[in-house]
Symmetry: C2
């Protein structure tokens, strides 16, 4: 089975029986037909060229999200994702930012002066008895629940089948609202002025899903009014966030550049994961994580 | 039993059978004799005046450390501390800063620009398989171990009876060296140029113990040379750290103003803890956490 593979040392080192590798770069696509493509750092322009090849049967995307792929896929091409590759790191990143806001680390990291007394310290809390609402509760949310249990945090998960009543009740009691939703037509700007207004004064918002989940104007208004205690954004709208954006430089806003799942050994881990899936495909087995295109994730 | 109690609403609300409260402020001490004192925000100058009263039998200090008290205590006066009051918050704070450095939160909190690509992101890691060495492994260390287990961190504890060989082996493998030691003659500047030199290049230092555990000049040298990956300091030498100190404003140094155990409900928790101990003393029971003065903690 001939497969398009990223031209990176970690992927070149793979040797999977039954797989003939054809290496691509961001600006160079090998000739001929392929049964599938391992998509890792594949620019959007290149995707269409890959999908135009006849006889393509599957795409394995190693990124956490699948934005863009479903709309591009021709009929009969199967999409697999690789959420296992990202879940553990994202869950740890979520724990990191939930703790960072409570311990004042955002403002202390910016300070050049020893703050004295409670007024200068600002509010400080631990995760004990903290009401953490995870909107988009799936693999990552469950892993986060395991991480936070010893801290005494109270986790509430909202899923796609949660009722408006359940959502309303969760928002009303949330100290921390963590977004892990995929981006679909149903979730675009799901966090708007109305939703932010339902949060308790001082609640924090954490977006590790997609920037477009949040209405940026409503977010800014909620921060400026002081209703929102603060925000931690690993994804933004637009993304990258422009240098002149008013979200930069605030003592209660932490912006990380879409690195929630990034670790130094990311390419190594991605190649290892791809090898496992390629082995299954070569043996005619069905790999996990087939994307249900009608759901959008 | 007449007892000196802080003149704060949370403590005034206490009603412990057998305890007659006499309220003090930082600048005002009631007349007469006292069986004991609940020390909370008691300035050093005031301590000597309290200890000079005849018939004083015990001191309950609600702070985490006991610096200063042992040297002042007259013979026959018992010192109790209140580490339970602080252990849980300090352990959560330790987890917070261990995660913050790995997820790049210190430099991202300072940034006003969307970093692109691995070079700009800088090193990122999770706690999975991270070698965390806790120097001063006691109540807090054990609690931290429980918190970090689900993250996959590998915790090694060093105690006062650890051998030089054990210490050397732990330092050589540490990715993160966390100081939770009390300050004694034996631990003053225990982290010197030699110790820092035994760490792996890129290792991080976290001091949640006392500022004087670390030689400040050696720390600065190790940061400037790049041997140390970074440092997180909740305590400093001197403390407060002066505004002109060269540790401020670095992207790999986080300074927090001695707030590792602070939470918004701190006074409330302290008063509740004190009520429990006062009840035991009034009933003639031996409270926990009698300080072993010869050990210094």
């Amino acid at each position: 089975m001939r497969v398009l593979i990223p031209d990176l040392p970690e992927f070149r080192a793979l040797d999977v029986p039954g797989i003939e590798a054809a290496y691509y770069r961001a600006d160079q696509l090998p000739d001929g037909d392929f049964a599938g493509v391992v998509a890792w750092g594949l620019p959007r322009a290149m995707r269409e060229r890959v999908l135009a090849r006849p006889n393509l049967k599957w795409v394995l995307t190693l990124t956490a999200g699948i934005d863009g792929w479903p709309d591009l896929l021709p009929p009969g091409v199967t999409l697999y994702n690789a959420h296992e590759l990202h879940d553990a790191a994202v869950a740890q990143h979520a724990a990191a930012v939930l703790l960072a806001s409570g311990r004042g680390l955002i403002r202390f990291a910016q300070a050049r002066h020893w703050a004295r007394g409670a007024a200068e310290h600002g509010p400080l809390w631990t995760l004990k008895d903290r009401q953490v609402v995870v909107w988009g509760y799936g693999h990552i949310g469950r892993e986060l629940g395991d991480l936070l249990a010893p801290f005494g945090a109270q986790l509430t998960g909202l899923r796609s089948h949660s009722t408006p009543q359940e959502i309303g009740a969760a928002l009303a009691m949330a100290d921390d609202l963590l977004l892990l939703l995929p981006l679909t037509d149903a979730t675009r700007q799901i966090v708007n002025a109305d939703v932010l207004g339902q949060l308790r004064p001082g609640a924090w918002l954490y977006n590790l899903g997609r920037g477009e989940l949040v209405d940026p104007a409503a977010l800014l208004t909620a921060l400026d009014s002081g209703h929102l205690g603060g925000a931690v954004l690993d994804v933004t709208d637009p993304e990258p966030l422009p240098d002149h954006d008013p979200l930069w430089g605030r003592s209660n806003v932490l912006i990380t550049p879409h690195i929630a799942s990034t670790t130094a050994d990311m390419s190594q881990r991605a190649a290892g994961y791809a090898a496992g899936v390629l082995g299954q495909l070569a043996r005619g087995e069905e790999p996990p994580n087939k994307v249900e295109l009608e759901k959008g994730y």
